[in-house]
């Protein structure tokens, strides 16, 4: 699932779908953490998953706010067209 998220981030041009693929990568890491936590009987993994979910929620909100602000300026969410810093 992590690799699928990487493929999605690298090949899609819509910024929102890139964000969703980042969430997919975070979820795959969550799954790994919970699996190892259940395998070893250590609750540390699940606590870490809780914090990863909180950070992912905050990051998704801030990222979407950035996309909204970008959309107001250029009327597009295509990551190829956001190149005003290109040299």
């Amino acid at each position: 699932m992590f690799t699928l998220g990487v493929i999605g981030v690298l090949t899609r041009r819509n910024a929102i779908i890139v964000f969703m693929c980042i969430e997919l990568m975070l979820n795959s890491v969550n799954l790994t953490l919970v699996a190892f936590s259940a395998f070893h009987g250590n609750p540390t993994g699940q606590i870490f998953v809780f914090f990863v979910m909180a950070v992912a929620a905050a990051e998704a909100a801030v990222g979407l706010a950035i996309i909204i602000a970008m959309f107001r300026n250029k009327m597009t969410v295509n990551v190829d067209e956001i190149n005003i810093m290109k040299w």
Partner: protein, 170 residues
């Protein structure tokens, strides 16, 4: 090969299929819906691993809040279908696929190439550490500081979102 393992394979295949469908859809709304299916499959896998708290939190936070936020933003920006998805198989896309293949190889090698088919069962303490009581006991005693810092992080995120997304007042 008991029923639990069969169930896990079915759910895992469904999660992978929905993830593949998510990254290949042109319509962003369909991508969000496939991601929600993926999150529900992940919650079922968490339940198989006796992680009840994480499963419910996953459905509440991810499928319930974050995906609804994504849908709001997609409908606010009124995006159409993404064109030029199937064309443009030039060197950029092939490099992307090669890099992703390298990442997959690294992950498989890093986790020890799970080619053995004897499914080692999970620990006997798994059912007791996944409850809300056990996670709460561990979080409020040992991991209290990250818990409080997370609240500050969420506050910073809220302030940042409001500053970024509000209209400018003249």
């Amino acid at each position: 090969m008991n029923l639990e393992v069969i169930f896990f394979f079915i759910i895992a295949a469904l999660a992978l299929a929905s993830a593949i469908m998510m990254i290949t859809q042109r319509n962003p709304v369909k991508s969000v819906l496939f991601l929600i299916v993926n999150f529900f499959c992940l919650a079922l896998i968490y339940l198989i691993l006796h992680a009840q708290f994480i499963a419910i939190i996953q459905i509440l936070v991810y499928a319930g809040a974050i995906m609804v936020l994504f849908l709001f933003v997609i409908m606010l920006l009124n995006l159409g279908d993404e064109s030029q998805l199937t064309e443009k198989m030039n060197y950029k896309k092939s490099i992307a696929y090669i890099l992703s293949g390298v990442v997959l190889l690294e992950i498989l090698i890093g986790t020890g190439l799970p080619l053995n088919l004897n499914f080692s069962s999970i620990s006997t303490k798994a059912a007791s550490i996944g409850t809300v009581e056990a996670i709460g006991k561990s979080m409020y005693t040992e991991y209290l500081f990250p818990f409080e810092i997370t609240s500050m992080l969420l506050l910073a995120a809220i302030v940042g979102v409001i500053v970024l997304a509000k209209k400018k007042f003249q």
